[in-house]
Assembly symmetry: C2
Homo-oligomer: 460 residues x 2
Amino acid sequence: MAIAPAVVDRLRAVVGAAHIRTDSETCTTYGADALRRGHPADAVVTPADAIEIAGIARVCFDTRTPLVPRGAGTGYTGGAVPVHGGVVLSLERLNRILEIDEGNLLAVVEPNVVTGALQDAVERVGLFYPPDPASLRQSVIGGNVAECAGGPRAFKYGVTRQYVLGLEAVLASGEMIRTGGKVVKNVVGYDLTQLLVGSEGTLAILTKIILRLVPKPPARITLRATFLDVAKAVEAVSRLISARVVPAALELVDAECLAAVSTYLGGRALAPEGTGALLLIEVDGLPELVAAEATRVEAACRAAGATEVLRAADEAERNELWSVRREISPSLKVITPLKFNHDVVVPKARVPQLFDLVDDLRGRFDLRIPCFGHVGDGNIHVNIMVSPDDTAAIARAHQAERALFEGVIGLEGSISGEHGIGFAKAPYLGLELTEETIAVMRAVKQAFDPRGILNPGKIF
Amino acid sequence: MAIAPAVVDRLRAVVGAAHIRTDSETCTTYGADALRRGHPADAVVTPADAIEIAGIARVCFDTRTPLVPRGAGTGYTGGAVPVHGGVVLSLERLNRILEIDEGNLLAVVEPNVVTGALQDAVERVGLFYPPDPASLRQSVIGGNVAECAGGPRAFKYGVTRQYVLGLEAVLASGEMIRTGGKVVKNVVGYDLTQLLVGSEGTLAILTKIILRLVPKPPARITLRATFLDVAKAVEAVSRLISARVVPAALELVDAECLAAVSTYLGGRALAPEGTGALLLIEVDGLPELVAAEATRVEAACRAAGATEVLRAADEAERNELWSVRREISPSLKVITPLKFNHDVVVPKARVPQLFDLVDDLRGRFDLRIPCFGHVGDGNIHVNIMVSPDDTAAIARAHQAERALFEGVIGLEGSISGEHGIGFAKAPYLGLELTEETIAVMRAVKQAFDPRGILNPGKIF
């Protein structure tokens, strides 16, 4: 549906002519995200501040026009796609770090601060913002909060949720709310802060975010261990947890990923012959601590049958060890250009069963399915690879996807640990949640957004 | 209001005659909690399981009867008091630990498991449940979740919220929902788990709780440092944070508390003459780590001007150091039998300003106001002491209370970090939250409980 010219006029009056566009190219560009299944917007607005955002919301509320907030558009489930058209509200001009408060270990930011830029800024004063989604050089804090982004450091440090102390947000009606604040404990009324985290832009538009910071760990040691199979790697993880080590990163890469990275990097061997699983482990903290932890990590890996354990001697070697993990995403394109990228999660001791399930899917559906991810959290990225022009393979991929989700639920897991539901996973919501639970979520949506204008077509 | 005999009959049919009581003594006992401002229930039911709880909810929903869930009744804000009468639903029979899953570091419990009993059970298998409200030998996990309880270990380990992975709960309508699950990451739909944590029994009745556990820290060192004033103690806290130490406990006790404990214990000196603030600091983790951290703690305290720093050599000395902190609550009764016990919180660097504010209140209102608490979180227990028969003092105490809350809000703090709102703090909600924010909370309440039967008269 196209929006009426009168609506565009009203929006123009709010943001100024320079900050509303309705041309087809802009509407198409802002209608797509990392999912690559876009839908054009009818108009794109780039407001200057919360007051203009409130004005935009009032126009859309009055006219029942879909209103889709957008950060960097790096989401994998289509969260920023205006599937019903309407107005895309890009937060790109709200991109300032407002405050870094060293004494109180917190930062106040606008939503479109790039996550990596915030990390750099706080690290310059000896502080640390741990959440590190792979997209951290592109994605923005607002999007990270809307999706509750994770990343390798979640095992030790937790996900985005654990760092959000307070929010300022504009409701669908144009009213503004403030939740939480600058304190680390707050039990005054319902925790709307935590409710808004992960709500995918369907409950409110975030305009200001108060983040908890921690002191920057002064030392870090990176290790890499290889194993004949995933079960042995998971055993190493169990052993190091039993040894009371809490790594800052604990990443697993499977043989199919290793092969893809090896091909991508020109064929050089990345691990000993026969490697079925590679663990990348990083410990951080006080120098005395990391030395002790690294020793325990080595012992745990060897006790679990590691074929090789390497320890980075310096930053260059650290980068070398991380390169395998970092190159996975571009490398997977050597298999096929298209991936259905899933972020399933299971109780951590069931990771071997998850890999058995994936092995079964590979055989049953004749598909390449490289896997990697955050094994300490039981959160594995399962990439179902297909060629965009192979419709038979795409059909098999969708069957495999459903079988994957059903299998994960059977393991008491969840269909999404990091990416959210958006519209890509909405058809599968009922696999994980009961009707009654979904009904409560819908009632919450209705409470925040009675006209259903905010990011419609998502989650449910 | 009394409930109709027909309602009692229907409830009896659900729980059986042995599990419903309407006698005055029972209704009065179950109508009071640690706030000591009770209101009698009309009936008290003790259901066996979630199915009976659902049946009770359906009866109350049909008949619009107030339904108040109750754990151990240790709350300080009257959360378990049936201020509008009706049915008190005591969860006392749902008191089993259902599962301790060592491989996946989680426990599944019914709501009325005593917090300390769960801690003991998981520690026996080398695991650890960190949240440690002072009432842990009486209070239960369900109440801890309903209030989002904190405790000394929150600085390092976080509050109850950070340990709740999933819930089973009965809605006001009698429908059952399940939120979250056995995984540490889950972004499928809205985070109803986190919304229910801290909702004070106003949104749903918890029937099962999945808790995250961590490995038990193998070593621990306890230190005590004394300072001439609170500002120097807070400086020590800042210095140890800068030194990258994250203590498992970081408790401050002020001079007025010290004097009360000293009187209570028969007049013996507990700290060097002239002590204005005492810090109790505990570090835990790997043995190599705690030794290094303890050294840094000592250095930080001395650099901030500590008059004395003691380190416990063994468990007996540890208990001796903790005794001052532990005896505060009973000791305060030597000042007056009644305390208005507030759990305000400010950004941590503003703790000295909070103490200045309290000093001002002491003078302005002629009241004894001993303070202690979790200084690392900026969360200080401010105890306004009065005699129950001194109506003039009680009036001044209420004035001081309001001035305290206003002052705390002025410091960008919160009026409650641990105890919740209940009905005792409900009149002050508007000091901290805007009308628009409260309206959203009310809409959420309406979404869960359209007839307003669950724990009415609380929070708002």
